[in-house]
């Protein structure tokens, strides 16, 4: 019993580490979708930033903060690009995201080979100093990401700017009539989503796994998108949702340790994806109300 309880505590703490990339990407995406821009390319942004963070960390020797900074900047630039394409070119927000994901999957492998001469992964890196609870290392990004969720909630629901941002996603024409610069808000929101996904990617490679590995995001960008719907576009509920997804990932890791890399561990790896599928199916019965103008290009009269 003692051992089981100990295992459960470490599982619960591992889930807190596993939830961070999903938390960061989700709350960025909530802000973006509230403004009416959907970004299917979260996965690609995360992966590119995960690679760039490790690359700058190893190449410059400036440590993990430089990695985080570059990951965030890269995410921001891709997010702004996505915003500009969506707002000014009226591009298809779904297909551009799919293209971005494929591009990123290829470019990171090519980049890994060019820098380190291997097809699979970078050399390992040393994570940031964290604090240890019950024998499990917790990164400072855990509390930071929780605080970010609360901050985005306050911004969206308790400030005038947040209200204006939400109006862009609900009815851009009325927002424009009220003097809101819809294009500016939408691009800023898309940039913020990119920035957060960039941080998520940097955390994943520098902090969580201590290495860049090919396709390491493994669907987390899409799990974050599912979490956005699951949360009903509410950052506080999204924190709860990402903990559930983080827990399913921690459970898979734990079971893989228990099973010691037998064939069945392949089956264990499906747990997070089945959990995600179950979550979006369950939430569908509650019919959450999404931003009314989500993903539709706003064309001025």
């Amino acid at each position: 019993m003692e051992a089981v309880l100990g295992d459960f505590t470490s599982l619960a703490l591992l889930a807190a580490s596993a939830m961070v990339p999903i938390t960061l990407a989700s709350i960025g995406e909530i802000a973006s979708e509230r403004a009416g821009i959907v970004n299917i390319g979260l996965e690609g942004i995360m992966l590119a930033s995960a690679w760039a963070a490790v690359a700058v960390y190893i190449m410059t020797g400036w440590g993990p903060l430089a990695g985080y900074l570059l990951g965030a900047l890269l995410g921001l630039s891709i997010g702004v690009l996505h915003g500009v394409v969506s707002v000014y070119l009226k591009g298809d927000q779904i297909v551009t995201g799919v293209g971005l994901n494929i591009f990123s999957a290829g470019a990171t492998v090519v980049g890994t080979y060019m820098l380190w001469g291997t097809f699979s992964n970078s050399p390992p890196v040393e994570p940031m100093p964290g604090f240890v609870i019950a024998g499990v290392r917790i990164s400072p990004m855990v509390p930071i990401s929780l605080a970010a969720g609360a901050a985005v909630w306050l911004f969206l629901y308790r400030t005038t700017t947040g209200l204006r941002l939400r109006s862009c996603g609900e009815d851009p024409r009325s927002a424009e009539a009220m003097g809101v610069n819809v294009a500016l808000y939408q691009i800023a929101a898309a940039g913020f989503a990119g920035l957060m996904a960039g941080l998520a990617g940097a955390y994943l490679s520098i902090d969580y796994q201590g290495v860049f590995a090919k396709n390491m995001t493994a669907g987390r960008g899409f799990i974050a998108l599912a979490n956005v719907a699951f949360s009903g576009w509410n950052p506080l509920v999204a924190l709860l949702g990402s903990y559930v997804f983080g827990f399913s990932e921690a459970l898979a890791i734990y079971l893989n340790i228990v099973l010691e890399a037998t064939a069945a561990s392949n089956l264990v790896n499906t747990i997070p994806y089945i959990a995600t599928l179950a979550a979006v199916t369950l939430i569908a019965f509650r019919k959450p109300r999404m931003p009314a103008w989500l993903g539709r290009p706003y064309i001025k009269e």
Partner: protein
């Protein structure tokens, strides 16, 4: 229902070619960064079909199937990103069926069609009945199929001698190749191992798809529902059924793609599934370059298949990973989609969202 990629008409050949040129430019930049000569590198890629005929022919054939799997639901406004997983399911089902009933390829083809079709239908049902975004469900199903199949391959189908490979498709269940002595002289010289029959099978599939869509009553209903579902519904088209059929058909085609790959080319699955990987995602690019028309898809599949064999070649000649093909494909897909809005004339009635409702 003016889904943008669907709205791309004949006049957009210029836009498509511009996107392809941009994609190749992205590839050239990467080649230059990798220390290779970009111009000769791109030429090496584009001329690879002459030297890597087998990879080129097989890859193009399978890409026709996965591209149709993306294009057919797209007209209904659905993004089937699940061809990847549907192809895995088809390949696995084909292998199991071929090992069980080893006398003809037919049961394997049927099993693959059923496995892929059910996966497509499942995502379609979630979308139509519960309004759950199909991009999410198909991506999740891809991962579930990937890990489940790895489990099945290692646990139940492994070859006792080569543990990283599955058992082989028995000889009678394979799709035979055309032997090189039956080919016209210059071809026979080049293709020592013969000519893959799956080329004709996928070509026939594309022609059949074109004929059904543009020359039959069900095809007319499908195009009507895709153009304006409300008008179609008011004229008695059961739109919901058309939508489900489009997703199921997509799954069937992707599943058959997996079967063709296993029965007509590789005969085995490796334990990391590397031989099956990427066809589904590359198919999206093929569909967009081919502008969602089955005949355009055939032409586009030759280009993307050439790109794939070219990146295999460049891995050998210029020491650049074959993933370069994904860089070019991704850049093309992004550009086609980004520029597609330029011809935008109206606001799409369809609300695209996660778990979205009609607005």
């Amino acid at each position: 229902m003016s889904r943008i990629p669907v709205a791309i008409g004949l006049g957009d050949l210029g836009l498509t070619l511009a996107a392809v040129a941009l994609g190749l430019a992205a590839g050239a930049i990467i080649l230059a960064l990798g220390g290779a000569d970009p111009l000769s590198g791109v030429a090496d890629i584009l001329l690879s079909f002459i030297y890597y005929q087998e990879i080129f022919l097989v890859r193009s054939s399978i890409l026709v199937m996965t591209a149709l799997a993306f294009a057919i639901p797209l007209r209904m406004g659905f993004f089937n990103i699940g061809a990847e997983g549907q192809l895995y399911a088809g390949a696995a089902a084909a292998l199991v069926a071929a090992l069980t009933l080893p006398h003809t390829p037919l049961p394997a083809l049927l099993a693959a069609a059923a496995a892929g079709g059910l996966m497509g239908l499942f995502a379609g049902l979630l979308r139509v009945k519960l309004n759950i975004n199909e991009v999410l469900t198909t991506i999740m199903l891809n991962w579930i199929a990937f890990w489940s199949l790895r489990y099945v391959v290692v646990e139940y189908l492994a070859d006792p001698i080569y543990s990283h490979l599955t058992l082989e498709v028995p000889p009678e269940a394979r799709i035979p190749w055309i032997p090189s002595e039956l080919l016209p002289a210059p071809l026979g010289e080049h293709l020592r191992s013969g000519f893959p029959t799956i080329v004709f099978l996928s070509l026939a599939t594309a022609l059949a798809a074109w004929a059904i869509i543009y020359r039959t009553v069900p095809g007319l209903r499908y195009r009507f529902a895709g153009a304006n579902e409300y008008a179609a519904a008011s004229r008695g088209v059961t739109v919901e059924r058309v939508k489900l059929a489009s997703m199921a058909a997509a799954g069937v085609l992707a599943g058959l793609g997996g079967a063709l790959l296993i029965l007509g080319h590789s005969y085995r699955i490796d334990s990391t599934l590397s031989g099956l990987f990427g066809y589904g995602f590359e198919g999206i690019g093929v569909a967009l370059i081919g502008r969602n028309n089955p005949l355009g898809i055939v032409v586009a599949s030759l280009f993307v298949g050439d790109l794939a064999s070219g990146s295999e070649r460049i891995q050998v000649t210029a020491r650049i990973p074959a993933e370069l093909a994904d860089v070019v494909n991704g850049a093309i897909i992004f550009t086609v989609a980004a520029l597609s809005g330029l011809r935008y004339t109206g606001i799409p009635r369809r609300l695209r969202s996660i778990a979205g409702r009609r607005g």
